[in-house]
């Protein structure tokens, strides 16, 4: 049978892939020792072959999904006959084994790119880099072959369980691959870092040659985090986007240390300083990537992301310990080769501000790690379990983040080595004024509230009431954020203006041409500044939507209005529906300006129920009602109402749930620049319950000011990151020259 053949091919392709990966490690290590070209070539070919085999295995698993082969346990758990095609493919990474396969497929693909782009350079580093990447691939393939095989089969089954309904969403589908691209790509700079340590080539070649990998990894991890936040916002329906879920935290930590790494390598590049720190950062970042996936899969912490527990936890633990402690031992043994070439000359310098930037980023990662694992610590120390929910993370992390925001403005403008008074005045007086003015303005606008909070803060401190003190201090965060954000935007504007002005005066270019050429010739630097602008926008969005959110809960009958903030919402009506794999009700609302009565837009909020199709009566009725809908039958609405009644009846009989609820939030975003006062604001409606007979809807409505600044900031971030990785002829020339120089000096030595 073709299905049997495909499953067998997939199974054996995974095994052969394991052999190939293992050989690539052995051959690379031997090649490094023996200095024979043949062995390294063999190792690199094994890398390419492994990717081919993994591609084949993945194709076989996807084929199982497309063919609805429910004998495959994996397909059975994550797919069903009624699952739409895109989600059948996306179900590949819906579970433990498939997501491991995706991880190793991506890693193996990147290993191929690494091998192919380094055919004629970095030949001394490549054997060790190949060995490290190969070893990681081997580890994942050991898991896939012996602990979590994806091609396990059981007896034939008529239908599958299907994906969790909340995962059947475009953003949720692209979020894992995006994150994986990030996690996985950090393996390459790590591999080169280890190679540099082993070969004692501890100059700056190892991270300059992998700069684009680092930015690529950092970009996809950051984007993956934002996509997850966006999905949470539109799907989970609590009006927020980040809950400090342990697995969310696991993706944030390597991104924080990765950001630190991206910045501190600039210091090593310019000044030959921070060599130990950079090596440590790349080790930390890769370890946190592995730790992140360990946290999701081991069952140590339960969360919406958790996969089923299995023996995978200990295996990851061992691998992580080997990687982390092994790398540290190597690092310590090479300390002699990691001496600084220059020294720090002043606290007020760019080097110093980058050091503080690193401190905060790594400190935040440490904070998140500490708080995420605190429940386990608490249980060990006191025997009682505690929960680390959003309140403690938010309160504790925000001071760090605000300090970081300040540094985003200081870093790019402060002078190298030692900032003189002239430099400080010239660069920071204007942005400082902008920030101070914003702070003053916001203070005046809401003076009474700030004075009250200040008073309450002092009294809480007097009582030594820590959590109350934090609560009161929270009131000042938005104002501080906007002031610092203004400061940063002003510093970025100054940088662009100064650079363009020099070109205008030296080359007599027009301002626009000057600006364009300036950015184009310094893509790395100005791409970075654009990323900073994106970061500021994200801060604005977080501050405003967190502090100034407005909420209302009301039950409305069709036709009734509701006023929230300066919006008038009218519940126009509802309709019942059954499609795809759910039935339910859609409420339509119109949004008006409550002062002028002008219509602003409409939105639809859905309450969905995904019936458990294991119940034959339910399955047949559901298919029948769906067919009524497709033919436009007048009995359609009554059919859906009947489904509601049937589900209630079955639940009473069976004594358990026979449906999974989900909601589609209705959102209206104000994105027109004409309505400036509500630019970026969302009206956000969650249907808590919709009565199918009367249409009475219990609605929860949020007004989220400036929340779209988060996603807009994300887009700016994407633009800046793309700019920073574009090929640059000058950078290429200098790197080639540096590599040639190092080759010559090593040959002479």
């Amino acid at each position: 049978m073709l299905r049997d053949l495909t499953n067998a091919i997939g199974h054996w392709a995974l095994f052969l892939g394991l052999l190939g990966a293992a050989w690539s490690v052995v051959a690379a290590l031997l090649g490094a020792r023996v200095r024979g070209k043949g062995l390294q070539l063999s190792a690199e070919r094994a890398v390419l072959a492994t990717w081919g085999l993994l591609g084949l295995a993945t194709a076989c698993l996807v084929a199982g999904f497309l063919a609805d082969d429910f004998r495959l346990d994996y397909v059975y758990h994550y797919s069903s006959t009624s699952q739409p095609l895109p989600y059948k493919i996306g179900a590949l990474w819906g579970g433990q084994a498939g997501s491991l396969l995706l991880w190793v497929l991506l890693l193996s693909g990147m290993a191929c790119v690494m091998v192919l782009t380094n055919r004629r350079k970095n030949r001394a580093l490549m054997p060790w880099a190949t060995a490290v990447v190969g070893a990681t691939i081997t580890f994942f393939l050991v898991l896939l072959n012996f602990i979590e095989p994806p091609f396990l089969t059981s007896a034939a089954r008529p239908d599958g369980v299907g994906l969790n309904p909340q995962l059947k969403n475009y953003w949720m589908m692209i979020h894992p691959p995006c994150l994986y691209l990030g996690y996985v790509a950090f393996t390459i700079p790590f591999a080169f870092g280890i190679a540099a340590l082993v070969t004692r080539r501890t100059g700056d070649i190892w991270f300059r040659t992998t700069r684009r990998w680092t930015v690529f990894a950092w970009f996809f991890l950051g984007t993956g985090v934002l996509l997850g936040a966006y999905w949470a916002y539109i799907e989970l329906g609590w009006g927020g986007y980040w809950a400090w879920d342990p697995v969310e935290n696991a993706s944030l930590m390597p991104w924080l240390t990765g950001t630190a790494f991206l910045h501190s390598v600039m210091i090593q590049e310019r000044k030959g300083m921070l060599k130990v720190w950079n090596a440590l950062l790349v080790i930390l970042t890769f370890s946190l990537s592995i730790f992140g996936t360990f946290l999701t899969r081991s069952g140590i912490i339960s969360s919406v992301h958790s996969f089923a527990t299995s023996d995978i936890g200990p295996a990851f633990g061992v691998f992580l310990a080997l990687v982390f402690f092994g790398s540290l031992v190597l690092l310590v043994s090479r300390l002699d080769n990691l001496r600084s070439e220059h020294r720090l000359e002043s606290v007020l310098s760019r080097e110093s501000s980058f050091l503080f930037n690193n401190l905060i980023l790594v400190g935040m990662a440490a904070t998140v790690l500490f708080l995420t694992t605190f429940p386990m610590l608490s249980e060990l120390a006191t025997g009682s379990k505690v929960t680390m929910g959003p309140p403690i993370f938010n309160l504790v992390n925000i001071p760090w983040a605000l300090l970081l925001l300040a540094l985003v403005g200081v870093g790019p403008l402060i002078a190298w080595r030692k900032a003189s008074r002239e430099n400080l005045l010239r660069s920071f007086v204007l942005p400082g004024l902008v920030g101070a003015w914003i702070l003053l303005l916001l203070g005046i606008l809401d003076a009474r509230a700030y004075l009250a909070s200040a008073g309450a803060l002092l009294s809480a401190l007097g009582r030594l009431d820590v959590s109350a003190g934090f609560q009161e201090f929270k009131t000042f965060y938005p104002a501080i954020t906007f002031a610092l954000g203004g400061f940063v935007l002003a510093t970025v504007a100054i940088e662009f203006w100064r650079g363009a002005r020099v070109r205008v005066s030296n080359y007599e270019e027009s301002a626009l041409v000057a600006l364009g050429r300036l950015v184009w010739r310094n893509k790395r630097r100005y791409g970075g500044y654009i990323v900073h602008v994106g970061v500021v926008l994200v801060f604005f969005g977080v501050a405003a939507s967190g502090a100034y959110q407005i909420e209302a809960v009301r039950e409305l009958a069709p036709g009734e209005p509701l006023i929230v903030d300066d919006y008038l919402l009218r519940y126009d009506g509802y309709r019942l529906l059954a499609e795809d794999d759910y039935f339910g009700a859609v409420a339509t609302l119109s949004v008006y300006d409550s002062a002028t009565g002008k219509p602003i837009g409409t939105l639809e909020a859905e309450q969905r129920y995904h019936p458990n199709l294991m119940f034959p009566e339910l399955r047949e009725t559901f298919q029948h009602v769906k067919a009524l809908g497709e033919t436009g039958s007048p009995q359609y609405a009554e059919g859906v109402a009947g489904l509601y009644r049937l589900v209630t009846l079955l639940e009473r009989q069976a004594g358990r749930e026979v449906k999974t609820p989900s909601t589609e939030v209705g959102i209206h975003s104000s994105l027109s620049p004409l309505a400036a006062s509500r630019f970026g604001e969302d009206v956000y409606v969650i249907p808590l319950a919709i009565d199918p007979a009367t249409g009475r809807a219990n609605l929860r409505v949020f007004v989220n000011p400036m929340v779209n600044f988060l996603w807009l900031g994300g887009l700016v971030f994407v633009l800046g990151a793309h700019l920073a990785v574009l090929p640059d002829a000058r950078e290429r020339r200098r790197l080639d020259a540096a590599i040639a120089l190092e080759e010559r000096s090593v040959a002479v030595a």
Binding site: R343, L371, P399, W400, V466, S467
Partner: protein
Amino acid sequence: MILIVVPAAVASDQAEYEHAAKTILCDCGCHPQSVHDCACGRAAEMRDEMHALIEQGRTGEQVIAAYVAEHGEAIRIAPVARGFNLLAWLGPLGGLLAAMAALGLIVRRWVRTPHGARPAVGDPAAPLAPDDGAYRERLRREIEELR
């Protein structure tokens, strides 16, 4: 924030309910949300339970205590700032301040005493001698090339 205009007695009931609902974790286990925030079915049940308890005359604190008595301290969305838990509340902030102070001191020490520094040949840290014409000329040429 909630904007609902209601009579005083109901308002204080609402305040008590909100205090409880924002302090207690929804035990559906899917996402670390308070009962007030979580949009799942279990949270709706818990909200109804809490409303019922408030209507019986209990305060928010009493409702919280009841849940803690039944489920343990882990039912709170964030731990009470007492005892071992102070480590979580104060540790990171304290750590930040301590680390910044430490870094400041370390940097100060590096600045004052040359630390492991082996200046490279042609150390840019040394100011250019006024008669270093050849070097200046080379510099000018290289800058031109890089443009």
